[in-house]
Amino acid sequence: NFTLDNEVHSSFIHRRLKSQERREMQREILSILGLPHRPRPHLHGKHNAAPMFMLDLYNAMSTEGKEDGYSYPYKPIFTTQGPPIATLQDNNFLNDADMVMSFVNLVERDTEFLPVWRHHREFRFDLSRIPEGEAVTTAEFRIYKGFIHERFDNETFRISVYQVLEEHIDRESDLFLLDSRVIWAAEDGWLVFDLTVTSNQWVLNPGHNLGLQLALESTDGVSVNPRLAGLIGRSGPQNKQPFMVAFFKATEVHLRSIR
């Protein structure tokens, strides 16, 4: 037993790599991961909602095939029209995806546009760094709505998300309505909007990527400041920051080089 044990144990001993071995191993693995160099992310992005969402997704995929399967993390909240309109119809999208990528929001402006008072928020996501040979199969924009105390339970808001088609200096941008729905003032949780078509356009024509606008109205059509309705923005808690996530399918088979 001793030799057997010793043999099993020795195959798991990973001794400290010498610096040359370490560099070779790093080069080897970067080539397998398809990365030209090791990324150097800035640290403050680590605890945002996106990395935590992606880690839940990673854990969900790692448990796939277990008896209870896995559930898609951060289930969208119910809207007044009933159960969440999950853009990702079932869990198979995880199976089919070769890659999932979350995008940090690059800009956010709370803008009150004169002369017509219209609160809205703008979001930008950089889709230009998507690895070659990946096609978007599903994409969604996620924004968290917190619980607001001073509102009455039965109050509702209409939330609308637009794609910015063209910007102008002296007037409002040209917008295309992507989705609009009514939410309860008393509801809290993640709101999910489907961006699949928009993302494909942005990937194919990066110059058209002028971001999104989000606007909120009360039931009598008055523009409401998103912050007062509990929509978490850039100044909110890190783990509830708005972000975008896209699921990809490889358009070509990556053959690994024999080593």
Binding site: S11, F12, H14, R16, L17, R22, M25, Q26, I29, I32, L33, R38, P39, R40, P41, H42, L43, G45, K46, N48, A50, P51, M54, L55, L57, Y58, N59, M61, S62, A97, D98, M99, V100, M101, S102, F103, V104, D126, R129, H254, R256
Partner: protein
């Protein structure tokens, strides 16, 4: 080649032939025993720890992975397709085409499976990528 007319088998000749067979037999035994000392083709474990590589600042998960590799001696994989006769034909054909190369079976993966890696890119976007054929599951002689 058969030499014509030799009625009597040359006693010395048969003695010489025996010596040759004896030498061949001994060589075979030697080769086999040395082959036994050299391990047969099998899967070996090499644990890659991203922490040891100093990458835990950008690789979120996993902490590392068991990167197997195949190593060891291969006897020609005789199986239902490749029996001794076909083996001899292949060896002869290859020898006729290119005498100085001897077809040698190689120890390589026969089954591979995927691994998912979660990591930050330079802009702090997060990528969850499924790498197929990343980890060796079984080795064999090709």
């Amino acid at each position: 080649s058969a030499t014509g007319g030799a009625k009597q088998r040359n006693p010395n000749r048969s003695k010489g032939a025996n010596k040759g067979q004896e030498a061949l037999r001994v060589a075979n035994i030697a080769e086999n025993s040395s082959a036994d000392q050299k391990q047969a083709c099998k899967k070996h474990e090499l644990y890659v720890s991203f922490r040891d590589l100093g990458w835990q600042d950008w690789i979120i998960a996993p902490e590392g992975y068991a990167a197997y590799y195949c190593e060891g001696e291969c006897a020609f994989p005789l199986n239902s397709y490749m029996n001794a006769t076909n083996h001899a034909i292949v060896q002869t054909l290859v020898h006729l085409i290119n005498p100085d190369t001897i077809p040698k079976p190689c120890c390589a993966p026969t089954q591979l499976h995927a691994i998912s890696v979660l990591y930050f890119d330079d802009s702090s976007n997060v990528i969850l990528k499924k790498y197929r054929n990343m980890v060796v599951r079984a080795c064999g002689c090709h």
